[in-house]
Amino acid sequence: MTRRVVVTGMAGLCPIGSDWKSVRDALVAGRSGVARVPEWEDVAGLKTRLGARVPGFEVPADYPRKKTRSMGRVSLLMVRSAELALADAGLLGSPELASGRVGVSCGSSTGSPPAMDVYARQLFVGRTTSGIGGNEFLQFMSHTAAANVASFFGVRGRLVPTCSACTSGSQGIGYGYEAIKFGLQDWMLTGGAEEFDVMEGAVFDVLFAASTRNDEPERTPRPFDAARDGIVVGEGAGCLVLEELEHARARGARIHAEMLGWATTCDGRHLTQPDPEGMEQVMRLALEGAALPPEAIGYVNAHATGTETGDIAESRATHAVFGARTPVSSLKGHIGHTLGASGALEAWLSIEMMREGWFAPTLNLEAVDERCAPLDYVRGEQRAREVEQVMSNNFAFGGINTSLIFRRFGE
């Protein structure tokens, strides 16, 4: 006996806005959150100078010091998105947070890089513990985002840190979904976050996977486009409150969507080279889990980051499952690659678009690379379309694949 899982709270902070209305306006206007990063100019060897930051984010004045001291920016972003999602769900301050029946499932690629810097300088370079305080590790440990969310809101159920690079957010949602579906928790704070830092830029730069279109920040990244030249790293956080259907009904909750299923797999081959077979398989497994045929999906939100090999592989895998009949777009042209946040932000925005009956185009997609499969690419302007189900896909270093399926909620 499994249980149905619904989305009752959603929120996100991203480079083009920190609420749906702002993000919607930017998506419709074709406004990019990518900008040049002047503080990277002094980094020898670094070729990319581009990034997408959450503008104007400040720590709310009412956040107590004893809660924020253990948070780097990645945790602060995650906690703030969770707070907004809880408020959206009507669950902020709920006594159930401490019941053991409510948990947290979220992650980021890494903890906060500036806190790592303290250890790197003092301990590894200086060979001293002098200058290392009590909070640096708490800010950079792998599960810092999840642990700080739990501490901040007094959550006492499961803590599932999903730290798997670019699938951190989608796995956060997926594992939260499973905890509810199988009766282990009643509702979960799920999602992912990432903090903008030169380390993330360097990770892709050294692999020649970062965009160097430095003088045209608004024209990159270019998912699926013939002239794409790589990733632009971004930051953000996204949170979905997932809840068991009867629990949501009993409290009269507003239900945004139903989560019908998901799948996660790994390629078991290479840690960075995309594997179209693994991508295809995860989409098919997600459909199987949701008991849906491919034609039931009305829109596919692609991971498509703007790399040469990743976009080709994903387009071919998507085509193998859906052919050319299902609209596909990637939001990374607008918001860059928000890494650990991307799966959560893209799930949130896919649900919002489904609810409103339109889907954003892939920004900067002008001429589809001939090596990409002939999908129904949404480009130029948004596509009006009433659909019942959407799929959101993400892929990560490590060969990790995820596919999430959401349905417009109806009885």
Partner: protein, 80 residues
């Protein structure tokens, strides 16, 4: 040698700037845990501040001997 008044000013300044405490709460008898809600992590961070700004290394035993603001002032006065 610094005077106790100078040291008290440094302690109050550090506790207000680094630990967001209010100066009016930082009277000499204020208890670090019971009155000011500081804890073991804060003790480590206080030691980092003392070392960085005053050049004095505090031991675990030193930190455990500190109970009030006056204790901090007295210890620093004795060592500096």
């Amino acid at each position: 040698m610094r005077s106790k008044d100078e040291i008290l000013r440094w302690v109050v300044g550090t506790l207000t700037s680094e630990f967001q405490l209010r100066a009016e709460d930082l009277h000499p008898g204020a208890h670090l845990v019971d009155d000011l809600d500081l804890d073991s992590i804060d003790a480590v961070d206080l030691a980092v501040n003392v070392e960085r700004e005053l050049g004095l290394s505090l031991t675990e035993g030193d930190l455990k001997s500190l109970h009030t603001v006056q204790d901090v002032v007295d210890l620093l006065h004795e060592r500096l």
